[in-house]
């Protein structure tokens, strides 16, 4: 099985550590890269000749460039608009969820505080997204709240 490239944009050190440990323990063949805000994310995505990630996890509240702003930029850039984006946030406010999905997020994850729960969520999100990625399923209507 080839590696699944995943990119995480989150400004919180602890959250990034929590996330990467959960990914490591899943036993999936994943290569994880992270950045600390939306500006760094877009810079990275716009680097010439990089392999674009299969899935981007995006925190909502980040300094310099936040999640929604980054999402809007991804969706309005021709060679990035097809990428799968998962918003990864502590907010479970209905309004944040709807706004994220309306602006083109495929997945909205309410950050859990329990480690095993996080593992289960990440497993479901990565494997489901992989089905869209590796089949002829259209990503246009791909929407998931977890």
């Amino acid at each position: 099985m080839k590696k699944i490239n995943i990119l995480l944009a989150d400004d919180d050190d602890d959250d990034r550590l929590f996330f990467s440990e959960a990914i490591e323990q899943l036993g999936l063949s994943v290569s994880l890269k992270w950045v600390v805000n939306g500006a760094e994310l877009l810079d990275y995505l716009k680097t010439p000749n990089i392999q674009l990630p299969e899935l981007i996890f995006l925190d909502l509240n980040m300094p310099i460039k936040g999640g929604i702003e980054s999402l809007i930029e991804i969706r309005s850039t021709d060679y990035l608009k097809h990428l799968s984006v998962a918003i990864y946030s502590t907010s479970s406010a209905e309004q944040d969820i709807e706004e994220s999905l309306i602006h083109g997020a495929n997945i909205y994850i309410r950050k859990p505080s329990d480690f095993d729960e996080l593992k289960a969520i990440l497993n479901k999100v990565i494997t489901t997204n992989h089905q869209y990625h590796s089949s002829d399923l259209s990503k246009e209507n791909f929407m998931m709240v977890i």
Partner: protein, 188 residues
């Protein structure tokens, strides 16, 4: 003037393959002219494009039997889910008939080589078809449940919620607002 040409097929093949791989921007390891290792998984449409591009040079990507079978299973599931004639039959028995293999074998091969179970994949395909029907505004949820062979509207609603985390009503509302927003952006 007549030119007499001699070829070093290996060099030729290497050049062509490298050119095509660079074009799609994938990193790879060139083992020899018949074996190249891609270091990342390619999205399905990109893989199909690479396959077509190489075929122009008479180069074929040999897929393993397992990969061919997985693709065939996916195609067949999609065909069944999109064909209303099959609505009253069990997908497992149609799959087994069409591929001439036992359902147990089909299902175990599928889960061994993808990150999902076949049951889950079929559920996903059905919900995707339901989404398209919901968005078309031509069918009631009851009609959709009937067409996709769910035992009741409740069963469809539950599965929709289980897979997407949303009710079908929220899904429709969000998609409409998203399309409005996208139209606004595209029209300046």
């Amino acid at each position: 003037m007549k030119l007499v040409l001699g070829y070093q097929v290996d060099v030729l093949a290497k050049k062509v393959v490298e050119k095509e791989l660079t074009k799609i921007g994938v990193s790879y390891k060139y083992h020899n002219s018949s074996q190249i290792e891609l270091l990342e998984e390619l999205p399905c449409p990109v893989f199909q494009k690479l396959k077509r591009n190489l075929e122009e040079y008479g180069i074929h990507i040999k897929e393993t039997q397992q990969e061919q079978l997985i693709q065939k299973i996916k195609d067949t599931v999609s065909e069944i889910v999109h064909d209303d004639h099959y609505y009253s039959f069990k997908i497992s028995s149609i799959l087994s008939d069409k591929l001439n293999l036992s359902y147990g074998y089909i299902a175990s091969t599928f889960s061994e080589h993808t990150l999902n179970t076949l049951e889950n994949y079929i559920m996903l395909q059905k919900i995707e078809r339901a989404k398209v029907m919901i968005l078309s505004d031509e069918y009631s949820l009851t009609e959709i449940a009937y067409k996709l062979n769910y035992s009741s509207v409740g069963h469809l609603s539950n599965q929709f919620k289980k897979i997407t985390g949303l009710t079908s009503t929220s899904f429709l509302r969000i998609m409409r607002r998203r399309n409005l927003l996208y139209n606004k952006i595209n029209n300046g």
